[in-house]
Symmetry: C2
Amino acid sequence: MSKKSVCIVGSGNWGSAIAKILGKNVKERSDKFEICVKMWMYEEMVDGRKLTEIVNTEHENIKYLPGVKIPENVVAIPDLIKASEDADILIFVLPHQFVAKTCQQMKGKIKSSAVAVSLIKGVSIDDSGMKMISNVIKEVLGIECCALMGANLAGEVAQEQFCETTIGCAVNGTGELLKSLFETPYFRCSVVTDQATVELCGALKNIVGIGAGIADGLGHGDNTKAAVIRLGLMEMIKFSEIFIPGSQRSTFFESCGISDLVATCHGGRNRMLGEHIVKSDKTVKQLEKELLKGQSFQGPLAAREIFKMLKDKNLIERFPLFVSVHYICLRESQPEEFINCLRNHPEHI
Amino acid sequence: MSKKSVCIVGSGNWGSAIAKILGKNVKERSDKFEICVKMWMYEEMVDGRKLTEIVNTEHENIKYLPGVKIPENVVAIPDLIKASEDADILIFVLPHQFVAKTCQQMKGKIKSSAVAVSLIKGVSIDDSGMKMISNVIKEVLGIECCALMGANLAGEVAQEQFCETTIGCAVNGTGELLKSLFETPYFRCSVVTDQATVELCGALKNIVGIGAGIADGLGHGDNTKAAVIRLGLMEMIKFSEIFIPGSQRSTFFESCGISDLVATCHGGRNRMLGEHIVKSDKTVKQLEKELLKGQSFQGPLAAREIFKMLKDKNLIERFPLFVSVHYICLRESQPEEFINCLRNHPEHI
C-alpha cells in the first residue's frame, strides 16, 4: 500500500490541536503516512505578519492556539488547492458555515480516491433543511466522508489531557486507517459504523446544552442538571430512532454520545448561551454579537430545524425539551417555562 | 383497600426532605394513605431541647435540614417500635451502617404485611461480603423491600428543585403504590423491575465519583471528566451484567444510572474525597475524620468489595477504573497512575 498524504482543511484552535497530534503520528507511523502534513490556513495578518509564515517559522498558531507547539512537519499553506490537491486523507475542521463554499472551490481539483473526515460538529442548515456536514462534503466532492467527534475541547486536547473520541465510519476499513492516524495515548479513538448517529449527536447535544444553561441560570443545582441531561439524552435517542434508520442505542454510550453531552452541559458555549438567555432579555442574535463576536451558536439553529422536522411528523409532544428550548431561543416562551415542560415528560409515563 | 400508614425510619437531611414530600402527599391522597406520617428520630439534644420536640412544635429539623418546614402531620417519635409497629409502608433512610441494627430492634414487632423501601445508597459490607441494603432489610424483617434512588441531593429536593428518581421494585404493584406516595411535580418517579441494578448503581457510582475527583485533583478538565464518567459507566454496566442475572442496560438510562452518576461526579462527597487524595498524602481514614467527622465514605468500601469479587472471578483486567480507584484509596498506587489505567481500557479495543 502506498503512503497516504494528509491535508488538514482548516486551522482554528481545533484544527491546530489536531495538527499537533497528526504531525507526531505520521512521523511515528511513517510506513503508512507521508511525513509532511499540509494544513490549509485562511491567510490573515497578525501583528503585521502573515499567519502562515508565523506558523511555518515559529511552529505555533499564535492567534488561535497560542502557547502550543505544532510539529515542524506540519506546513501551513494559504492556497486551498495547493494544500489539498495531492491529499489522500482530507480532514475538515472549519466553522460549519464555510464547509460548502470551501468544498466548491476544491471540487474537481482533488484526488478522486481521497477520503475525507469531518471534525465539524453540528449540521448544515440551508433553505432545503438540515444536512449532516459529512453529506455536504460527500455531495460536493463525490468522495467518502467519515466523522470524528467526542468530548474534545481543543485547549484540553492540546495540553494532552486524556480524552476519548468516536470515529463514525459507514465504510469498512477507513475507520481503522483513521484510528491509526489520530490515536495517541491521550486521545483514544473508538470506531463505530453508525456514522449518522455519531454526527447527529454532535448537533442535538447543543440543544440540550442550552437547556442545561437555562437550568443553571434559574439557579437549579446538580439534581436538575442531571435530569436535564438524562431527559435530553432520551430525546436524542428517540429522535435518532425515528429519523435515522438503523440508529443504534450503543452509539450513545460512546464518547460522541454521553461524554460529549455531559461536557457540553457543563462547559460548552451553548450552555453559556442558555444561562445568558435567563439572565438578560436579549435576543440570541444580540447575544451572538456580544459573546461570539458575530459567530453563531449551533444550538438555536439545530433547535429550529429539529422543531420543523418534529412538526412535520406530528411529534411535538414527544420532545418537550427540544421544543421548549426552541421557543425560549425565539423568546416566544419564558425561560421559567423550561422546567415546567419537563415535569410531565413522556419518559415519566 | 384500607388506607396505608407510613413510617419514615430515619430523620437526617434526606429523611427530613422526604418527610416534607410525604406529609403533603398523604394529605392530597388521603383515599390511599393515613394522614399521620410517623418519623422515627434518634433522640438528640439540640441547644438544651429534645430534637423530636423541636420538630413537633416548630416543624423544622433545625439540626439536619434547617430552614425547611416539615408538614404538621409528620410526627417525630423517639421510640423506634412505637413509630413503626403499625406501619404498612416503612421507608428506610438511615446511614447504611445502622440499618442492620435498627432492623434487629424492629424484628417481630412490625406488621408482617408491611412493605419496605430503602432510600439508602451504597451497599452493606460485613465479614461475609457485600449485600444490597434491601436484602439486609428483607432478611432481618422478612418483608418485601424495594429501593428508591436517583440524582437526589437532599438540600435541592427540599428546595423543590426539579429532579427525577427511580423506584426499583421486583414485585408487581408495590412500585405503583410507592410512586403515588412519593411523586410530586418536582420529584418525578419512574418504576422499573430491575431492582438489583438500581441498587448496585447507587454503590458503584461512588467508585467512579472518586475517579472523577482524582481527575479534578490532577487538574484535568471537562474532556477527561467526561471520559472518566463514560468509562465508569461502561464498567458499571459490565459489572452488573456479570454479577446480576437479568440486569438490563435500560436501567442505566434511568435517574439511578446516568443522572446519579453525573451528579456524583460533579458534586458528590466521593468526588471530593478523590480530589483530596490527590492534594494531600493523608489516608482515607484520616480524610474521613477531617471531612466527615468520622463518618465513612462509601466509595472506598465499595471499591474494596468490588475488587474482591473481581479478583475471585479473575476479572481484574476488565475493570481498570474500579481497580485503580481501589489501589489509590489504599495508597498502594499513586493518583497520577489513575489516568494511565484508562489509556488502554478494554472499551477502546
